[in-house]
C-alpha cells in the first residue's frame, strides 16, 4: 500500500485516494479544430514511462482535493507532491529512469 502525502492533509493510506492517471493533460483549446489523429491523442494516448511519471490523485475520503504526484513507476517511490496550481518540479530519476 502506498503512503501518499496529501499536500493538504499529510501522509495517508492509499485506500483514501483515487488514481487519476497522467497529469498535465489539458483539454484542447479549440476542440472544433482538432483532426481525428489529434482527438485520438487527446482521448486515448497517455505516457506510460518506466521511471518518473507525473500523475493525478484525489483524496476522496479526506479533503476531496485533486493534486499531482511525481512517482517512480519501478520503485513506486513518491518523489514529489504538488498542488494543481504549481508547476511540475524538475527531478532526475534515481532508478530505471529513462530506460
Amino acid at each position: 500500500m502506498l503512503l501518499i502525502p496529501c499536500p493538504h492533509c499529510g501522509p495517508r493510506n492509499e485506500t483514501e485516494f483515487h488514481y487519476g492517471g497522467q497529469a498535465h493533460v489539458a483539454y484542447p483549446d479549440r476542440p472544433d479544430l482538432l483532426s481525428d489523429d489529434e482527438w485520438a491523442e487527446y482521448l486515448f494516448f497517455r505516457d506510460n514511462p518506466k521511471g518518473l511519471f507525473a500523475e493525478r490523485w484525489v483524496h476522496g475520503t479526506g479533503c476531496r482535493k485533486w493534486f499531482n504526484v511525481v512517482r517512480d513507476t519501478v520503485t513506486y517511490r513518491i518523489e514529489a507532491v504538488y498542488r494543481l496550481d504549481q508547476p511540475r518540479p524538475e527531478l532526475t530519476a534515481t532508478t530505471g529512469g529513462a530506460r
Partner: protein, 410 residues
C-alpha cells in the same frame, strides 16, 4: 466436467526441451519477448509459414513475465463478435494443442462460471449467453440452485451481502498449466530450428529510414527482415524506442495461491461484482486473482489492500476457504488498452508489427494471438481475425469495447 483431473498423477517433465543458442548476426524475422504470445508467434511462423530462420529474444527467462504469473483461465464467452471470434478460435486450438505439441500441459475443460449478484449482472449475463450462442460459443444461463449443483462449495444463500442470483456457464472453458504451455511451444519451436535466446534484452531498433532492419541488444546488434513486438507490459517502452506511441497503460496485476488442499473446487468461478476469481490447480492450491492496482507500474508487485479485498470476496463466496492459508502472492505487469481489447497489426514503422494490449486476459488467447501475429508478420497483411484489432481503431473510433461487456476482464 469432472474432478478426476485433479487426482490423476502429474506427467513427468520431459528433458531436453530447447537449446540455448547464441544469437546469429541476422534472421528473417525476430520476435521480441519470450512470453506465451512470443513463443506461439514463433511456432506458427515456422509451422504455418515455413519461416524457420527466426529468433525469439527474451530479456529474462522464457515465460518469466505474465505467462507464468497468470491464473490460467481459458474461456471464450465474450460478448462482442470480434472478441468471440478470436477467443473461440483460441479455444479450438487449445483443444488440439496437447496432441499437436505432444505435451500434456494439463488443459482441463472443467468449465467457467461467471456469477451474477445484481439485476444488472443478470441482464448482462443472459444477454451474453444469447450472444455467445449466436456466435457458436457454448454457454448456458444457470439459476442459483444450478450454480450450486455445478460448484457445491459456492455460498448461494440469500443472506449474502450480494447474493448469487445465477450465473453463466461455459462448459468448454477451463485452465491449463501455463509454464508447461510455454515449454511445449518452446520444444516444438526448437525442433523446427527456431532460436530461443534468453537473457537477451532489446534496447533499441536499427532503422533504414522508416523501415526496421534489426535490433540492438545487450548481446549485440541482430539484423532482421521483420520484427514483431510481443512484450506485454513493456510494449510501450519498446514502442517509444522505435519512435511511436501505443495507447496502453501498464498496471500491476496480482494473484495468489493457498497451500495445497484436497480437491474441493471442481470448476472455475469468477465474480465480477464482489470481484474475485478462483480455481483449484491440479496440485491442490486454490488460485485466486482479482483486478489491477489502480496506478501504473513496472514493479511486478502491487498493494496489499487489493489482495485483502479479493480474500474477503473469496471467503464470502466460499465459506470453506476461511481456514485456508495464503501461501504466496505475486504480480505481473499488464498492458491495458482503452477498450480492453488487444492491438495486433502494423505499426507506423515499416516491417515492425505489434501484439499488445491483452491486459489482464491474454493467456487464454495465447494460440490465436500467435497464429494471427505470425500471419501478419509473414504476409504483411492482417489475418481476418485481427482485422478489427488495429492501432488505427483509436483514430477511426471503431473501438471493440469489451470493458464492461465481457464477463470480467480475465
Amino acid at each position: 466436467m469432472s474432478t478426476t483431473t485433479t487426482t490423476k498423477p502429474l506427467p513427468e517433465h520431459p528433458d531436453w526441451l530447447w537449446h540455448n543458442p547464441d544469437p546469429k548476426p541476422s534472421y528473417d524475422a525476430i520476435v521480441v519477448g519470450g512470453g506465451g504470445h512470443g513463443i506461439a508467434t514463433a511456432y506458427y511462423l515456422a509451422k504455418n509459414h515455413g519461416l524457420t530462420n527466426i529468433a525469439v529474444l527474451e530479456k529474462g527467462w522464457l515465460a518469466g513475465g505474465n505467462m507464468a504469473r497468470n491464473t490460467t483461465i481459458i474461456r471464450s464467452n465474450y460478448l462482442l463478435d470480434e472478441s468471440a471470434a478470436i477467443y473461440e478460435f483460441a479455444l479450438k486450438l487449445w483443444e488440439q494443442l496437447p496432441e499437436e505439441l505432444d505435451y500434456d500441459f494439463l488443459f482441463s475443460q472443467r468449465g467457467v462460471l461467471n456469477l451474477a449478484h445484481t439485476l444488472q449482472d443478470v441482464r448482462e449475463g443472459t444477454r451474453r449467453v444469447n450472444a455467445n450462442k449466436l456466435n457458436g460459443v457454448d454457454a448456458d444461463w444457470l439459476s442459483a440452485d444450478e450454480v450450486a449443483k455445478v460448484c457445491p462449495i459456492v455460498n448461494v444463500s440469500p443472506d449474502l451481502r450480494y447474493p448469487v442470483l445465477g450465473g453463466t456457464f461455459q462448459p468448454r472453458a477451463g485452465i491449463a498449466k501455463h509454464d508447461h504451455v510455454a515449454w511445449a511451444f518452446a520444444r516444438a519451436c526448437d525442433r523446427m530450428g527456431v532460436d530461443i535466446i534468453q537473457n537477451c534484452e532489446v534496447t533499441d531498433f536499427v532503422k533504414d529510414g522508416n523501415r526496421v532492419v534489426g535490433v540492438e541488444t545487450n548481446r549485440g546488434r541482430i539484423l532482421a527482415g521483420r520484427v514483431g513486438l510481443t512484450a506485454a507490459g513493456h510494449s510501450s517502452v519498446l514502442a517509444a524506442r522505435a519512435g511511436f506511441r501505443l495507447p496502453v497503460q501498464s498496471h500491476p496485476l496480482q494473484a495468489l495461491v493457498s497451500e495445497l488442499n484436497e480437491p474441493v473446487h471442481p470448476t472455475v468461478v469468477m465474480s465480477n461484482h464482489v470481484h474475485v476469481y478462483v480455481s483449484q490447480a491440479h496440485k491442490g492450491e486454490l488460485v485466486m486473482g482479482a483486478g489491477v492496482d489502480s496506478y501504473t507500474g513496472y514493479g511486478q508487485r502491487g498493494s496489499f489492500h487489493v489482495i485483502e479485498h479479493q480474500m474477503a470476496a473469496a471467503v464470502e463466496l466460499f465459506p470453506i476457504f476461511a481456514r485456508a492459508h495464503l501461501l504466496r502472492t505475486w504480480g505481473g505487469i499488464v498492458d491495458v488498452s482503452p477498450d480492453a481489447s488487444p492491438i495486433i497489426g502494423a505499426t507506423p514503422v515499416e516491417n515492425l508489427f505489434v501484439n499488445c494490449g491483452w491486459g489482464t486476459g491474454g493467456f487464454k488467447a495465447t494460440p490465436s494471438a500467435g497464429w494471427v501475429m505470425a500471419h501478419t508478420m509473414a504476409t504483411g497483411e492482417p489475418h481476418p481475425l485481427n482485422v478489427p484489432f488495429t492501432l488505427e481503431r483509436f483514430v477511426t473510433g471503431a473501438l471493440i469495447d469489451e470493458h464492461g461487456a465481457a464477463a470480467v476482464a480475465h
